[in-house]
């Protein structure tokens, strides 16, 4: 009995899950403290709004799943790149490109949703491949290229949309010129199927979340069950060593970034093919891509854990919208940031736990010592 208990705690996954839960708890406490400071009389209702809105009725739950889908995709994108030793800060640009390609396929070319989805994937993949190519062949840090191409992508998309009259809502009878056309007007076949889910989960619900879960599983299989995934990870740990072992490091860096980009691209496609969202032409980067970073970090880049962290982030964001007007909804961002920052402490705590267990184990069974698997 005691042995199985200790085995449970010895597993790295358990320790990091405990760490994440502790940081989440601490982050929420900080959030409550902020609510108390800024408006004590509404603090308790604020907290309950934040924590329980997502479950209050089933249409809110539908909204949680609706925003969780693109978050999960960008989280997977960032996490996948992390696993292969790259920092994909370009998820925003890839997401933008994915949305653009998907919408062009759906509106300009009147193609059905699955083709538009593939087009979105392609757009994201191209925008992801670029930092990969620059890193592999020109020795330019992927973070810099990705930042540059976030902006280039945004401006290129805005420029193209302004020169494609058919894409804009005004072409289809709406007043606004700053948004892309509503898919319900332009091409209902490009809207993601709802499979009748919208009847119980409200208007927002579609199959997007299931596509995202499927992608998470596929990425998990690639990373942990295939030689290809192993090679990608090996490149991330030590580029020179994997080159020595006969792995084509340049090809793998480009492939990692391409796959990461494709994931963000699907995220953009899922969001804008929902039929409820319209792409707005603005001069600031889309935040959905950047929100993928905390989602990936909360899940320690594990694809399956990313499902839950995306759900969590989406859940408290939906709750956060209900904080207004008494509080700014950005309190949610503070909470998430604090959770990520605290997860650094959690690493420290994990280290201490692991050390204690290791020492104990050394004392009773020195042969059973196994290396800590750091992924």
């Amino acid at each position: 009995m005691e042995n199985s208990y200790r085995n449970f705690f010895r597993r790295r996954g358990t320790i990091s899950l405990l760490g994440s839960l502790l940081s989440i708890l601490a982050g929420l406490l900080l959030g409550f403290a902020l609510l108390l400071v800024f408006n004590p009389s509404h603090a308790l209702t604020g907290l309950s709004n934040m924590l329980f809105t997502g479950l209050r009725d089933i249409s809110k739950l539908g909204k949680v799943l609706y925003t969780a889908a693109p978050l999960l995709m960008t989280g997977l994108s960032v996490g996948f790149a992390f696993k292969t030793g790259l920092f994909n800060i370009g998820a925003s640009g890839q997401y933008t490109m994915g949305s653009f390609f998907a919408l062009v396929a759906g509106i300009q070319f009147q193609l059905p949703w699955y083709v538009a989805m593939l087009a979105g994937m392609l757009g994201g993949a191209i925008w992801g491949a670029i930092p990969g190519i620059f890193k592999a062949h020109f020795n330019v840090n992927e973070v810099i290229t990705a930042i540059m191409f976030n902006w280039i992508g945004l401006f290129a998309v805005n420029l193209s949309l302004n020169n494609m009259p058919m894409m804009i809502a005004s072409y289809w009878g709406a007043v606004t010129k700053e948004r892309t056309a509503k898919l319900t007007d332009a091409n209902p076949a490009a809207i993601l199927p709802k499979l009748g889910l919208d009847e119980s989960f409200g208007n927002y619900m579609n199959i997007g979340f299931f596509i995202a879960i499927l992608s998470a599983v596929v990425i998990w299989i690639i990373l942990s069950k295939t030689t290809f995934g192993y090679e990608l990870k090996a490149c991330g740990y030590n580029r020179s060593a994997s080159l020595y072992a006969g792995i084509n490091d340049k090809r793998n860096i480009i492939l990692s970034m391409t796959i990461a980009g494709a994931l963000s691209g699907i995220g953009g496609a899922i969001y804008y093919l929902s039929g409820t969202a319209q792409f707005t032409i603005v001069k600031s980067l889309l935040t959905m891509g950047f929100n993928g970073i905390p989602v990936a970090l909360l899940a320690s880049s594990n694809p399956v854990a990313t499902i839950f962290s995306a759900l969590f982030v989406s859940y408290i964001q939906v709750g956060g919208d209900m904080l207004q007007p008494e509080f700014a909804k950005e309190i949610i961002d503070i909470i998430i940031a604090a959770i990520i920052y605290l997860s650094a402490f959690a690493l420290l705590v994990q280290g201490v736990i692991a050390k204690v267990l290791m020492n104990r184990r050394k004392n009773c069974a020195p042969a059973a010592r196994e290396e800590d698997d750091r992924c």
Binding site: N141, M148, A156, N158, F290, P294, L297, P325, I331, A337
Partner: protein, 324 residues
């Protein structure tokens, strides 16, 4: 000629925040800490200094002692940035956390905190802190000739201060014991430690410098942008990172890189009044072409110079005494 003066003047105005923040990033990376939190540091510096300027404006003291108030605002920006950057230093030096993760958390924290605080102070939905008019340095001289136009078109106290900080950065980095030790910690911390340099302390100092410069850079950006503080710095913290790499982690190269980038950034807004630039008449919203320009040009230059690019060797690696 006057238009040239305008362009150069705006170029300098926008190069100043890039220069300051990139120099900050340089100090941090030279000591071995990747400072991706520059964006957040800028926001915190700009937030507190703009709140100070607002308070001075309301009390009326600022209008009477304009540049003294701006000077205090700069001090506040630097102090705020330094304090905020200590969060990064603590996580990455003492907790040995992943530096990108800590930085990302701070980047997320800063704008959210700024919005929440601005709301709390200015009232619901009031997300912009206006910059008082007296912040700009004006002159009675006419702006009809090249030099007065170039200097006084848009002059803020941050600009001469940036020049001063650049010189001090060069002196500190290359001519003092501190600078030598700092650089050693970024290249080979074990070797530095073996001769008695306190690596932890050096890294704290490096990050602290980046906080001071980043905070002041945040204020410099906000006055340059001209539309008040809106809880964001438009990605300038990240651009400064690019400028730093572009400048090869060296102060003078960083100066060149920031002027270069700022020039291409400004070019777009003057494209209509410069006769030999194409105006893309057949393309709708052609301003986006010029908006893309600085990023594309930077990428090209990065590719051309990447062979010579050399990052500090130990950056991003937490220092572990037992790993010697």
């Amino acid at each position: 000629m006057l238009i040239l003066a305008d362009i150069l003047s705006s170029t300098v105005l926008f190069a100043v925040p890039l220069l300051l923040v990139a120099l900050g990033g340089m100090f941090s990376e030279r000591s071995g800490i990747i400072n991706i939190a520059l964006e957040g540091i800028m926001i915190v510096g700009a937030l507190l200094s703009c709140l100070f300027l607002r308070a001075m404006d309301l009390s009326g003291w600022g209008a009477q002692h304009a540049q003294l108030a701006v000077f205090f605002a700069i001090l506040i920006a630097g102090a705020a940035g330094a304090l905020f950057s200590m969060l990064l230093a603590f996580a990455s030096v003492h907790l040995k956390a992943n530096q990108t993760i800590g930085g990302t958390a701070l980047n997320m924290l800063a704008p959210a905190f700024a919005i929440v605080l601005t709301w709390a102070i200015q009232g619901q939905g009031q997300t912009t802190i206006a910059i008082p008019k007296w912040v700009r340095i004006t002159s009675a001289l006419t702006q009809d000739n090249f030099f007065t136009r170039f200097i006084f078109k848009s002059l803020y106290l941050t600009t001469p201060l940036a020049a001063l900080l650049l010189v001090s950065a060069i002196v500190i980095l290359y001519k003092t014991k501190l600078g030598l030790r700092l650089r050693a910690c970024g290249e080979h911390p074990q070797a530095a430690d073996s001769v008695g340099v306190n690596v932890y302390r050096m890294r704290y100092i490096g990050v602290c410098f980046s906080g001071i410069l980043g905070g002041i850079g945040g204020l410099a950006f906000t006055v340059a942008a001209g539309s008040g503080f809106q809880s964001q710095v438009a990605g300038y913290g990240f651009l400064a990172l690019a400028v730093m790499i572009f400048g090869n982690w060296k102060p003078l190269n960083i100066l060149g890189a920031s002027l270069f980038f700022a020039f291409f950034k400004i070019l777009g807004s003057y494209s209509g009044s410069i006769p030999f630039l194409p105006d893309f008449k057949n393309v709708k919203s052609s301003e986006y072409i010029y908006l893309m320009l600085p990023y594309i040009v930077t990428m090209i230059v990065l590719v051309l110079t990447s062979k010579k690019s050399r990052a500090p060797k130990a950056e991003g690696v937490p220092y572990d005494k037992s790993g010697r």
